[in-house]
């Protein structure tokens, strides 16, 4: 499914999204909301779409989530 991946990388997420700086600002709160089982996307709109469109922020989100999950 390389084509779909390439198309997605080119076209990005469809909906509105925050930028990288806001994503970093909100990331700790977003991750804790996820780990607490809350609706992180409703609480902080635009973060999930940004994570879908930005590989670097996505990697950092995955790492923070995995690290915090160890002690949550």
């Amino acid at each position: 499914m390389k084509d779909d991946k390439k198309l997605h990388a080119l076209l990005g997420p469809a909906g509105p999204e925050v930028g990288c700086d806001d994503c970093f600002e909100l990331l700790d709160r977003y991750v804790e909301a996820e780990l607490a089982g809350g609706d992180a996307d409703a609480l902080l709109p635009g973060v999930r779409a940004h994570l879908a469109g930005c590989p670097a922020c996505r990697e950092e989100h995955e790492s923070l989530r995995a690290l915090v999950a160890e002690s949550f």
Partner: protein, 223 residues
């Protein structure tokens, strides 16, 4: 208090800037870091240890993708990341509003520093490809009927990429989305920031989506 997040790609994030009541542990961290003398020094040392743990977590996670890096090089990167994160956290202490635990907030600085350093290290001495050398990836990898169903969209995207973008948008989109150059690496080479580059990428993507919609292509499943 509510405020629209400054610098959003689009103004979608309405953030509650409510100062949450701090949990006891976070309150202790802040009190110790704002203290003077031995209590302050001890808290800074504890914070550095915490940040180093986070940075090592990141280097360990990425180790499989960095086979050419020796263990001691990774450790040096983790230590540098912890040092830099410590400076950031101490400088931004007043920005911490208790929206998360203090440790979660602090961790993200160490993870960011480590991730950025590792991306740059991985691309050190590598040329950053700015031309669409990976278009051929569209030619293979899918079943024939899937390829046929996609071919109209793919060729429309190709044309839009070639004709709809400014030279800067084209260069940024090709490097990031087609050639897989990490955004921090490209920001470094172009003398800009991740945030500014993402804005360019976002504008380019909007332009492409608009052009494709104008030519009547259904992008719904590309959500």
């Amino acid at each position: 208090m509510r405020a629209v997040a400054a610098g959003s790609v689009e103004a979608v994030a309405v953030i509650d800037l409510v100062d949450e009541p701090l949990d006891l542990e976070s309150r202790a961290w802040l009190a110790d870091l704002r203290a003077t003398g031995a209590a302050h020094d001890a808290a800074v040392a504890r914070l550095h240890a915490l940040l180093l743990r986070a940075a090592r977590f990141e280097t360990a996670r990425r180790r499989p993708t960095l086979p050419h890096l020796r263990g001691d090089e990774l450790d040096d990167i983790a230590l540098e990341a912890a040092d830099d994160a410590l400076v950031s956290v101490l400088r931004r202490l007043d920005d911490f509003r208790g929206a998360s635990r203090f440790t979660t907030w602090a961790y993200k600085f160490a993870l960011l520093e480590a991730a950025v350093k590792l991306r740059k290290r991985a691309w050190q001495a590598r040329e950053v490809p700015l031309e669409p050398e990976s278009w051929q990836l569209f030619a293979g990898g899918t079943a024939p009927d899937e390829a046929a169903a996609r071919s109209e969209l793919v060729s429309a995207v190709r044309i839009a990429v070639a004709t709809e973008l400014t030279p800067h948008q084209h260069r940024v989109l090709v490097a990031l989305a087609l050639n897989g150059v990490p955004i921090d690496v490209l920001a470094d080479r172009l003398g800009t920031t991740r945030g500014a580059l993402y804005k360019t990428l976002h504008d380019a993507r909007r332009r492409l989506r608009a052009a494709l919609a104008e030519s009547g292509l259904d992008l719904e499943e590309m959500g």
